[in-house]
Symmetry: C2
Amino acid sequence: MLQNATVKSVVKRLPIYLDYLLDVMKNDSNVKYISSKKISDDLSLGEVQVRKDLSAICGNGKPKLGYNIEKLTNTIEQYLGCNHIKKAVLIGVGKLGSAIIAFDEFKKYGIEIIAGFDIKESGNVTDIPVHLFNKQNLKKIFDQNEVNIGIICVPKQAAQDVCNTLVELGVDIIWNFAPMILKVPKNVLVQNENLAYSLSIVSSVINNNSKN
Amino acid sequence: MLQNATVKSVVKRLPIYLDYLLDVMKNDSNVKYISSKKISDDLSLGEVQVRKDLSAICGNGKPKLGYNIEKLTNTIEQYLGCNHIKKAVLIGVGKLGSAIIAFDEFKKYGIEIIAGFDIKESGNVTDIPVHLFNKQNLKKIFDQNEVNIGIICVPKQAAQDVCNTLVELGVDIIWNFAPMILKVPKNVLVQNENLAYSLSIVSSVINNNSKN
């Protein structure tokens, strides 16, 4: 098991390795072994880093051969909890909410959006049902399913109320797209996803570098 | 000017402070000063951290009064380059691309999406024109505007080609939503925004914590 201090930095690269390994196997089902050198070349990552990451979760590869690709893939999938389905609901099915519901990459990581909720009746997105947002309708879904994740795509004025309702119903993780800081109890994890922030940070670095 | 080592950690909180300060001024135009204590309470951030962040970009506040809110806001806006408009084009106007084009928070940070491009003629999103994606059409926009940012929302099979074209036309920043690692020259900055990765990382932490 990884030490807490190294968890974050290694874990954030695991989905990159996983995507890559799945691609390699899809393109050539005869590949049995893969070296950290090849991985680092193909992904433009430092070889030392790749070695360190992989040995942290999967020990060392075989000398001259590298890692058994299937075993490595399985270990990463297990580590990321890909085979342990985590159910999510999404609140606020506007443009961004619809895009997230329709995004089919989540399943790869064991995340399943089972329902959307909106204050307007707006029809389903793909085959995922969208319900009218109210506590009664939400509770029905939570009673029938173990829901771990609440995805908040509502305007920031409504976000804290929606968050409180989701926490009350028992979610462990809030994935927040509203541009604000939510207040939650200590046992709830909030992952903030502010698209404008993210871009403004990059562009500020450019802005200030060009001045130096 | 900030030291490079501290830049990243401070800068990533600047948009949060900015949003907050703009809100405070909007709600009460009589507020002249604000203390780091109040900021840290309202944002649920540690007071020491807030003090450190703000003093790094704006010196110390007045004793007992705190910071002049207007001056603090201006300094942060200046640092983030909010008043220096950076133009962006977005390639791939599907669900996610449309959501990003329609997202009106970018302007606050000086980022303006001037055009979208798609391989299908799909009509405009809001008042931003969407053109048919080909090099000729792209070049026309780049000839008429100084474009700094290219936003890639195409499927991963097409992403590297689109990226190459954007780099050739002279963008400084690629904002990449395709779930893959792009290869770019050293002078180009790539900000990856993989939504599935982001969520899988959070859920893997939950996954592994619950096993310990």
